[in-house]
């Protein structure tokens, strides 16, 4: 029981950078901009955050640097795609590779150098609660923030006027424009705020969950974050669930390494990535015309709950995602 609690707490911790990265991607994609550079941005944020935190001996400064770097990468993406008409996919992909190489090059002096890290900070009183204490309240400030970020983004997107505008940019930019919303400027804003969150996710690795810096420190986690956003159907709570599921898989893989002999550990490391794709395929298959036809042929009492379930599980991307916007 205690071991289970420890493992669950480890899952919550391991998912925290993913929460930041996916929420950043979500904000950007809801506004219609796909930021494919995530993996590179996370690496560059991790490297820069660690280097600055080390040089200035200040963890907050490290996080701030990472956020600025993330916003800057997003700014380049916006400039090239929104203003200069280049494909968001192409620019994002190139930025992903370029930032990865930059992180390797600029990070070379700090490889495996010990440095500062986010301090453990159990919350007084709450930390002593049975069950909930060890699960939720014995972490560090970054992880507490990851708990708060999901409801915050959900509230922002679905309960505020700003969120409504943001979603309009991703669904019907022409209508938003006709209502007098500065489409491009708002997209810049969303993409850069999202990019800052992604940068922070990077710093969370180098300053908190995987402390220090090494070559390709975060191993493809940005691509996974992009996949989780799709898996979560561009809805904050389901994306968070995806992050926790993925983190749980990682922990299981880590724990079972000693248990299963004959299968090399490296094979386990790729398992979560593969499962992610399988789940994506299953989710999308639910929406396939063939399956819809089968469901339609079911008897009435069965059909209704299944259709309802399917529409809940399947979600479409923002209609204008990745498409260039031209003033009508």
């Amino acid at each position: 029981m205690d071991q289970l609690l420890i493992d669950l707490a480890a899952v919550l911790a391991a998912a925290s950078p993913l929460i930041f990265a996916t929420m950043g991607a979500l904000i950007s994609e809801r506004a219609g901009v796909i930021n494919l550079s995530l993996d590179g941005t996370i690496l560059l944020g991790a490297m820069a955050g660690f280097s600055v935190a080390l040089a200035a001996n200040s963890v907050p400064l490290g996080f701030l640097t990472a956020a600025l770097i993330g916003a800057a990468v997003a700014l380049i993406l916006c400039l090239l795609s929104l203003n200069l008409g280049q494909s968001q996919t192409a620019v994002g992909f190139v930025l992903a590779l370029l930032c990865t190489e930059l992180s390797s090059f600029l990070g070379a002096p700090v490889v495996r150098v010990p440095g500062p890290a986010v301090a453990f900070a159990p919350i007084p009183l709450l930390a002593d609660l049975p069950m909930l204490g060890p699960l939720l309240f014995r972490h560090d400030p970054f992880i507490y923030m990851s708990f708060l970020l999901v409801p915050l983004v959900w509230w922002l997107l679905f309960s505020t006027r700003l969120g409504l505008l943001l979603r309009a940019l991703g669904e019907r930019p022409a209508t938003a424009f006709a209502r007098g919303i500065p489409v491009l400027r708002m997209r810049y804003l969303a993409c850069m705020v999202g990019g800052a969150l992604v940068g922070i996710a990077g710093a969370a690795y180098s300053l908190d969950l995987k402390q220090g810096w090494s070559y390709r420190h975060t191993f493809g986690v940005g691509w996974i974050a992009l996949a989780i956003v799709i898996f979560g159907g561009w809805r904050p709570w389901r994306i968070a669930l995806g992050c926790y599921l993925f983190a749980a898989l990682e922990i299981v893989a880590l724990r079972s390494q000693s248990g299963l002999r004959g299968i090399p550990t490296q094979v386990f490391q790729v398992a979560p990535f593969v499962l992610m794709i399988v789940v994506l395929a299953l989710v999308n298959l639910l929406a396939s015309p063939t399956l819809t036809r089968y469901i339609a042929a079911l008897p009435e009492p069965l059909r209704r709950p299944i259709t309802k379930l399917a529409t809940q599980i399947v979600a479409a991307a923002p209609a204008a995602l990745g498409k260039p916007f031209e003033r009508p």
Binding site: L84, Q86, L97, L102, S104, A281, N284
Partner: protein, 349 residues
């Protein structure tokens, strides 16, 4: 996906086009050099010395020159394949996994029938490599067409799966005796290595195959109805469909062809370069190939010169840590910066 404009718009004089192309090429070069120089200066190393080694290092000795040609080979093969998928409007990020699967498949005849005459065995091995890469690409096609998983994510997932599979084989069933099992399978017997010139690592058969593949892709895209249909699908799948082109079919064919070429690249890495299966058998040539294709707007004529340039940067950079104490990833920074500033220059045109 946006397909770049290749033919000049009507009513514009060809000389003006040429001038504008020259201007944006220069702009792209200057932009990339400016960014790379800035990065170098920020770490306090001499940019001129670094550029000298980066640009000319691959041409200083015959050994390095052959390494450069042997890196150009898989790069040209991948870029040729990716030219096809780009024409069909696809971002085939799964190309890395297709290279790995090609290498794995190439190992099968080598392990099962090592007593065949080498030329026959090489043919079998490369055939298996092409098949392996094509099947892996078809998996991505099935995910995209059957389950509507975007080919970018299908490809990425399959890349991780492919590298897991290679690791599993290296550490499991194909494990070599003794220590250092993680570094790769047992080396192939000498007589199964692709023949090289003198003592150099240059196996001329490999670059020749790559050139053949590039010529084939060029011909397919410029002179066949299939190539035309592929580009139609890339420009507008819906319009192509209405004109009677089977878009799903063309998409599968483009991915499978790209996979086959990437597979051959992987097979050549095994029999011509490493002479064993190693965990990092693709060494990132697939993603580098994607950069090449983005830089040249999927025009086959430019694939060879740009591949040669990129390969020479990478080979040149290998000497940087020893001679100047500079990390070799600056080659990747330069390659990425070139493509980024080419996109910028195109946007400004």
């Amino acid at each position: 996906m946006q397909q770049p404009e290749i033919s000049p718009p009507p009513g514009v004089a060809p000389t003006r086009i040429a001038f504008s192309a020259l201007r944006s090429t220069l702009l792209a070069l200057l932009g990339a050099l400016a960014l790379t120089t800035l990065v170098l200066l920020s770490t306090g190393v001499s940019p001129l010395e670094t550029y000298r080694i980066l640009f000319f290092g691959a041409f200083t000795t015959p050994g390095r020159f052959s390494d450069m040609l042997m890196l150009t080979t898989p790069l040209v093969l991948c870029a040729s394949g990716l030219t096809l998928t780009f024409a069909a409007g696809l971002y085939n990020l799964g190309v890395e996994g297709q290279v790995v699967l090609g290498a794995v498949a190439a190992m099968i005849p080598l392990r099962l029938l090592p007593d065949l005459p080498p030329p026959l065995l090489w043919t079998l091995s490369l055939g298996a490599a092409a098949l392996g890469g094509a099947l892996w690409a078809l998996l991505a096609a099935a995910l995209r067409l059957g389950a509507r998983v975007n080919e970018i994510f299908a490809g990425l997932g399959l890349n991780f799966l492919a590298s897991g599979l290679a690791l599993f084989l290296i550490l499991g069933p194909w494990r070599r005796e003794g220590t250092a099992a993680a570094s790769g399978t047992a080396p192939l017997p000498r007589e199964l290595w692709l023949p090289t010139i003198d003592n150099l690592r240059l196996a001329p058969l490999a670059p020749m195959l790559a050139l053949l593949a590039l010529a084939l892709v060029w011909w397919l895209l410029s002179s066949t109805r299939w190539g035309l249909e592929l580009r139609a699908v890339g420009l507008s799948p819906a319009a192509a469909d209405r004109l009677g082109v089977a878009a799903p079919r063309r998409i599968s064919e483009a991915l499978a062809s790209c996979g086959a070429l990437a597979g051959v690249a992987g097979g050549l890495q095994v029999i011509g370069v490493f002479h064993q299966l190693i965990p990092n058998i693709s060494s990132g040539v697939g993603l580098l190939g994607l950069l090449v294709v983005l830089l040249v707007l999927a025009r086959p004529i430019w694939v060879l010169p740009i591949s040669l340039a990129f390969a020479s940067f990478t080979v040149g950079s290998v000497q940087l840590p020893l001679t100047l104490g500079v990390d070799s990833s600056i080659a990747g920074v330069l390659q990425g910066a070139l493509v980024l500033s080419a996109l910028l220059a195109r946007g400004l045109r």
